[in-house]
C-alpha cells in the first residue's frame, strides 16, 4: 500500500513487491492440455503475466502498489487515449470532478486565486475536452459526511472502541491487507470521489468520468470492484500539469471572467454547492462534522479541541455543563500515528493470543476504562478512546497528498507548504451539510464499500529478495 509506505515523490514509489506472488501463478487457460511430462526442457516461450490494479487489490502478497502498474492503467496518457476514442465515437460524454485540495494546489502552482483557478479549469475542460460536466466534490462529500454521521449514530452506542473512517484508500488497503482486526471497526461509507462518480453516472450513465485527486491511492480506490463503474480514470494535479506539458498547452491562456459552473453542472444539482467546502480538517472534516451533527440536538454544548502529541493528532469533544463529555472524535494522520492507534486497538489481543504473559508493575498506569481527567487536569488527546477517528495515511492529511504539486523533498518544508494550503482551505466558503443531501441519503448500497480481509497468499514460490540476517 502506497501512501503509508512511500514518499510523495513519484520516483520514490516502492517498486512492485520484489516478492510479487502474481508471476508464480501464470494463467493456465491458454495452455494446451498435455499428457506427457517433459523433463529438463523449459517451455520455449515463458508466458507473460500481467498484473492489473485489481490483482494488486486482491492480493496481500505485498502491500505496495507499483508506480508502473498504477500508471499503466490510470494516467493522463490513458485518459488522452480514451478521450480521442470518445471524440471519434461521439457516444459518450466527458464528466470531470476535482477535489478541493487539488484546486488549491493548482491555484498555488499557477499563482491564481481559487475563484480564477476554478473558472480557468472549467473553461479549459469545456473548450479543450468538450466536457459536459465539470464539478467539485463537495456535493459527494456532503453525502459522504451525512451518511457517516447517520451510521455513527447507529453504531457508536453498540461499538466497543472507536469506529474508523474509510475515506482514505491508503488506510483502507492497509487495513484490508495487514490489519484484519480493524475491519469490524471500519465504516463502509464511500469517499466523496466515489459518491460524486455515482451521482455523475446517475445524471448521465454513458459519461466517462475523469477524477482529479490529491493522491495516487485514489486510483486503487476507483479500481475496487464496487467502485469501478463510478470513476473511469483518476489523475493527480502532478499528472494534470504533465498532461498540459505534453499537449504544449498554456493553462493560463484559458483564464476567463465567464463563470460556466452553472452550465457544467448536472441538472438538479446546486451549482454553487459542489465548489464550496465544509468546516473541519482540510482532509474532509469528517471528525469535526460528526460532533457538529450532534451539537444541534444537545443545547448549550460546545466542541472543544485538544491538541495531540504531534500536529497530526487532534481530538474533539462535544461537552456540556450538565452532561460532561457527550461524544468525541479525532483526527489521526500519518503512518506513525496510525501505528500507535492500531497498536492500541489490536496489540493486547495479539499478545494474549500468543499466550505471553506481560507483567504490569506500574501502579501509576491507568487501567483501561479509566480516563486520565480523573487523575490529572491536563487534557491529553487519546484517539483510541474516542468514538470516531478520521484516519488519513499521509502526514498532514489530504492537503499533503502525494499527487499534489509539492516538489519539496524535505518533510518539514513539505509540512509548511501543507499548512499554507490548509490555511487557504479554511478560506474556501464553508457550507453546512444541507438538506438536499438527505434526498440522496437513501438506503441503497451504492454508497457502501465492500470491505474485506485480504488473506496473505499461501503460495510457496515467493522468493524474497534480501537475506534474512
Amino acid at each position: 500500500m502506497s501512501a503509508l509506505l512511500r514518499d510523495a515523490d513519484l520516483n520514490d514509489f516502492i517498486s512492485p513487491g520484489l516478492a510479487c506472488v502474481k508471476p508464480a501463478q501464470p494463467q493456465k487457460v491458454e495452455k494446451k492440455p498435455s499428457f506427457e511430462v517433459e523433463v529438463g526442457i523449459e517451455s520455449s516461450e515463458p508466458e507473460k503475466v500481467s498484473i492489473s490494479l485489481q490483482d494488486c487489490l486482491a492480493c496481500a502478497g505485498c502491500i505496495t502498489s507499483s508506480e508502473e502498474i498504477l500508471l499503466s492503467k490510470q494516467s493522463h496518457k490513458v485518459f488522452l487515449e480514451k478521450w480521442s476514442e470518445l471524440e471519434e465515437l461521439d457516444e459518450r460524454s466527458l464528466a470531470v470532478s476535482i477535489s478541493p485540495q487539488c484546486r488549491l494546489s493548482l491555484a498555488d502552482y499557477y499563482s491564481m486565486c481559487l475563484a480564477d483557478l476554478d473558472r480557468c479549469f472549467q473553461n479549459f475542460m469545456k473548450t479543450k475536452f468538450n466536457a459536459k460536466y465539470v464539478v467539485g466534490t463537495q456535493f459527494g462529500r456532503s453525502i459522504s459526511i451525512s451518511r457517516i454521521n447517520a451510521t455513527l449514530k447507529d453504531r457508536v452506542p453498540e461499538n466497543e472502541g472507536p469506529l474508523l473512517c474509510s475515506v482514505c484508500p491508503g488506510f483502507v488497503l492497509y487495513a484490508e491487507k495487514t490489519k484484519p482486526e480493524l475491519i469490524p471497526h471500519m465504516l463502509d461509507v464511500k469517499s466523496p470521489q466515489q459518491i460524486t462518480g455515482n451521482l455523475l453516472k446517475q445524471a448521465d450513465p454513458t459519461c466517462y468520468h475523469l477524477s482529479i485527486m490529491p493522491c495516487f491511492d485514489k486510483k486503487l480506490e476507483a479500481s475496487r470492484e464496487e467502485c469501478e463503474k463510478e470513476v473511469d480514470c483518476v489523475i493527480t494535479p502532478k499528472e494534470f500539469v504533465a498532461m498540459l506539458g505534453d499537449l504544449s498547452i498554456d493553462f493560463k491562456s484559458y483564464m476567463t471572467e465567464y463563470d460556466s459552473s452553472k452550465e457544467l453542472c448536472p441538472s438538479g444539482w446546486d451549482y454553487k454547492l459542489h465548489w464550496l467546502s465544509n468546516e473541519g480538517s482540510s482532509s474532509g472534516g469528517y471528525a469535526y462534522q460528526y460532533l457538529l451533527s450532534l451539537q444541534s440536538s444537545n443545547p448549550e454544548s460546545d466542541i472543544i479541541t485538544i491538541e495531540g502529541k504531534n500536529s497530526d493528532v487532534t481530538e474533539y469533544r462535544l461537552v456540556s455543563k450538565s452532561k460532561g463529555v457527550i461524544a468525541s472524535s479525532s483526527e489521526v494522520y500519518g503512518f506513525r500515528n496510525i501505528q500507535n492507534l492500531v497498536r492500541k486497538l489490536s496489540q493486547s489481543a495479539s499478545v494474549k493470543k500468543r499466550g505471553i504473559k506481560v507483567k504490569r508493575r506500574g501502579q501509576s498506569v491507568l487501567k483501561s476504562g479509566e480516563t486520565s481527567e480523573k487523575t490529572t487536569k491536563v487534557l491529553t488527546a487519546d484517539p483510541a478512546k474516542t468514538d470516531f477517528v478520521e484516519v488519513m495515511a499521509c502526514p498532514s492529511g489530504c492537503i499533503n497528498g502525494g499527487g499534489l504539486l509539492n516538489e519539496e523533498k524535505n518533510a518539514n518544508r513539505r509540512k509548511q507548504l501543507a499548512q499554507d494550503l490548509s490555511l487557504a482551505y479554511t478560506k474556501v466558503h464553508s457550507v453546512n451539510i444541507p438538506d438536499i443531501v438527505h434526498a440522496y441519503d437513501d438506503k441503497s448500497n451504492d454508497f457502501k464499500y465492500n470491505l474485506r480481509v485480504i488473506e496473505p497468499s499461501t503460495s510457496s514460490d515467493v522468493v524474497a529478495v534480501g537475506n534474512t540476517w
Binding site: L5, R6, D7, T178, K309, N310, S311, F335, R336, Q339, N340, R343, Q347, S350, V351, R354, G355, I356, K357, V358, K359, R360, R361, G362, S364, V365, P395, N410, A411, N412, R413, K415, G466, N467, T468, W469
Partner: protein
C-alpha cells in the same frame, strides 16, 4: 605491541550467538538463534538467568540494555521487540527476583535486525528487513511505548541502528550499501545525511565517543571499515558528512561489527573470524593488532568494548556462530 588475551570462552547457546550487551551493573545479555536470552555476570562468568524463551518464536537477533537501568530490549526475527526488567534495583542480592517480560512491541512487518536505546534511555530505535527504522518513546517503567517516527528512506533491509552518545543523532546501516544519519526536526525525525561509499551491505556502524568530534565508523560486506566525519551542520535539515578515511585493510571477508572504544580504539570482527583493533596515530589509522580465529572456524558476529570495571582493564566481548561468547582482555602495551 598491544595484545589480546582470551579470558573466558562461554558456551552459552545451542546455535549462533548474534548479540551481546553489558550494562553498568556488569550484567551481560546475549541473544541467539536458539531464541534464548541469557544474563551472565561479567565478573564471575556465571549465568544468572535465562529469560522466558516462549517470548520469541524465532531468533533473538539483537539485545540492548537501557542506559543506567536493568531494562533490556530484545529484537527478534519474529518481528517483535520484547522488553524485560525487574523491580529490584540491582543484581547483588542473592535472592534476586526474576526478570520479567514488561512489554511486547509490535509494528515491524518482519525480521527485526537491531535495537538501540538513546543515551538518555528515552528513545528506542528498531530496524527491520521491512526497510524501515522506527523510533519509540518509552515510559520510565519500560512498559508503554509510543511510536514517534517511522523512517522509510532506506531502499533495502536495515541491518543496524546506533545512537550518538550525547547528541540526538541516529545512524542506520543497510543492505542498500549506505548509512543514513537522522536527526530530530520539529516533531519528527528526518534523514539529514546519506553516507555513500561502501560497495556492499553496511552491517554496522558506531559513533566516536567524543563530545568535540562527530565521527562514525562503519563496517561492510566489502571488507572495509570506513571513517566518516561531520563537516558541516548548518542547523538546518541537511548535514554534510565526508568519508575521512578507509582503515587499513585487515579483513579478508565481510565486516559484520564495528565498535569504537571510549579511549579511541576501533574494534572490528567479521566473516573471516578475525578480531582487529585499530588505533589513530599522527600518520592516520594503523592496525594495532589482529587476532585470528576468534571463534574457531566460525564467523564472529559482534564485538563490543566493555566499560565495566577497573579503568585499567579493557575488555572486549565477541559473539560467534559457534554459540559462544568470548571475553578478551586488551593490553595496550
Amino acid at each position: 605491541m598491544a595484545g589480546l588475551k582470551l579470558l573466558k570462552s562461554l558456551a552459552l547457546h545451542d546455535d549462533k550467538c548474534w548479540s551481546v550487551d553489558v550494562n553498568n551493573g556488569g550484567i551481560m545479555a546475549t541473544g541467539s538463534t536458539d531464541r534464548k536470552i541469557k544474563l551472565v555476570d561479567i565478573r564471575s562468568f556465571q549465568i544468572i538467568e535465562e529469560l522466558d524463551d516462549t517470548a520469541h518464536k524465532k531468533t533473538v537477533r539483537s539485545v540492548a540494555w537501557r542506559p543506567h537501568s536493568n531494562i533490556l530490549a530484545a529484537g527478534s526475527f519474529d518481528s517483535t521487540v520484547s522488553i524485560w526488567g525487574k523491580d529490584d534495583d540491582g543484581y547483588n542480592d542473592e535472592n534476586d527476583l526474576e526478570t520479567e517480560l514488561l512489554a511486547i512491541i509490535e509494528g515491524h512487518e518482519n525480521e527485526i535486525k537491531c535495537v538501540a536505546w538513546s543515551h538518555d534511555g528515552e528513545l528506542l530505535a528498531t530496524c527491520s528487513r521491512d526497510k524501515s527504522v522506527w523510533i519509540w518513546e518509552a515510559d520510565e517503567m519500560g512498559e508503554e511505548f509510543e511510536c514517534i517516527s517511522v523512517l522509510q528512506e532506506h531502499s533495502q533491509d536495515v541491518k543496524h541502528v546506533i545512537w550518538h552518545q550525547s547528541l540526538p543523532l541516529l545512524a542506520s546501516s543497510s543492505y542498500d550499501d549506505t548509512v543514513r544519519i537522522w536527526k530530530d526536526c520539529d516533531d519528527d525525525w528526518e534523514c539529514c545525511a546519506v553516507l555513500n561509499g561502501h560497495e556492499g551491505t553496511v552491517w554496522s556502524s558506531d559513533f566516536e565517543k567524543s563530545n568535540s568530534n562527530v565521527r562514525l565508523c562503519s563496517g561492510s560486506d566489502d571488507g572495509t571499515v570506513r571513517i566518516w566525519c561531520l563537516e558541516d551542520d548548518n542547523g538546518e535539515y541537511e548535514q554534510e558528512w565526508i568519508q575521512e578515511s578507509i582503515l587499513p585493510k585487515a579483513h579478508t571477508r565481510a565486516v559484520y561489527s564495528v565498535n569504537w572504544s571510549p579511549k579511541g580504539y576501533i574494534a572490528s570482527t567479521g566473516s573471516d573470524g578475525r578480531l582487529v583493533i585499530y588505533k589513530e596515530s599522527e600518520d592516520g589509522w594503523i592496525v594495532e593488532c589482529i587476532h585470528e580465529l576468534t571463534h574457531g572456524v566460525y564467523e564472529t558476529n559482534m564485538v563490543k568494548w566493555v566499560e565495566y570495571g577497573s579503568k585499567d582493564v579493557i575488555l572486549l566481548i565477541t559473539a560467534g556462530d559457534d554459540g559462544h561468547v568470548n571475553v578478551w582482555k586488551f593490553d595496550e602495551n
